[in-house]
Symmetry: C3
Subunit: 138 residues, 3 copies
């Protein structure tokens, strides 16, 4: 069994944003030399997310609006977590969007349907944060 | 390490529905010859879901009502994604329900609790769509 | 390839609660002797959850309040699932929180960011319920 590990660092200038990290994950897969197996990609922070969806800007605006409706940022005082922090909403938004994705690796490629793309979802940005890529297989 | 891959195709006649795909997944596992490992089952489309819950029709009606409350289909114009499409709500519903499940394989079986069943959740149906099954192990 | 399996049993005295199970998972990893691979930890019941977030009591109160807002327990009659049961809300809450986590194992450790902790989320407690830990790797 082969195994591969890499940390990817991101610094988002806004509090919230979605960025397509599929090219970086593809590079990891090439580096790994693994052609059959499973790839795990997870946020290493609890106020960010890794998820799979469509790379379409209207949808990303819909996601932002929808998540703000389900878990509003403000007033910060609405959350008990926010006595010394202001990011409770980021924990909740990341809960909706998910921490991780697991992707099949087949014939050396991310085994995706036609529109699947991997995104890093930032909900408490303006600082450097990490994503972990772990691949096992052969 | 052994590995196995299969695509399962579904065509749901309604826009939304849940179908129990546990028997199909069991067949994949038998075909694979793998007795210890991990099984990934994911929607290959970004408007559908694979999830684990109870096979109980009342609950499925509750899920439909609840998802419509959290991410209503109409009016289609409420979503920016819907300039050329009408399925933004399907992207959001699938986000709640999840893209994938990872299941332990132990002694040649899906290692499930008493009520766990795998479902395909369709949120933008009336066309053929795919689910991927990938198993690695020995 | 090595593989390891363990069931962890929990009995929560309340209907709902979150408990940090990271120490138990760490023990499983030590027992497994696996240093590189993937660890799956999932609820074996469909009214409970395994998830990763912060071990901060204010946040846990926020999660409880937020989940009650998104999927209220009462009146029990609001859900079709509740003809012979009263736990439909638990199925929905667990859907938001997720069934499982997949964690990278690197150099014999849970490969976590600084604040990641694994929780068992109970939404229909007052009875014994199980979590499955499966690890594969080498």
């Amino acid at each position: 069994m082969k195994h591969y590990r890499k940390e990817l660092w991101f610094e988002i200038n806004n509090r919230r944003d979605f960025i397509n990290i599929t090219p970086e994950i593809d590079l990891c897969l090439s580096e790994s030399g693994i052609s059959e197996g499973l790839l795990l990609c997870n946020a290493m922070h609890i106020t960010s997310s890794v998820f799979i969806n469509d790379d379409e800007s209207g949808l990303h605006q819909d996601l932002e609006t929808w998540l703000e409706g389900l878990a509003p940022e403000k007033p910060h005082s609405r959350y008990k977590h926010n006595s010394f922090e202001d990011n409770a909403d980021a924990h909740l938004k990341r809960t909706i969007m998910g921490r991780e994705v697991v992707v099949a690796i087949s014939k050396g490629k991310l085994d995706f349907g036609p529109w699947e793309q991997i995104f890093y979802g930032e909900f408490d940005g303006k600082r450097k944060k990490r994503v972990l890529v772990k691949i096992i297989g052969e």
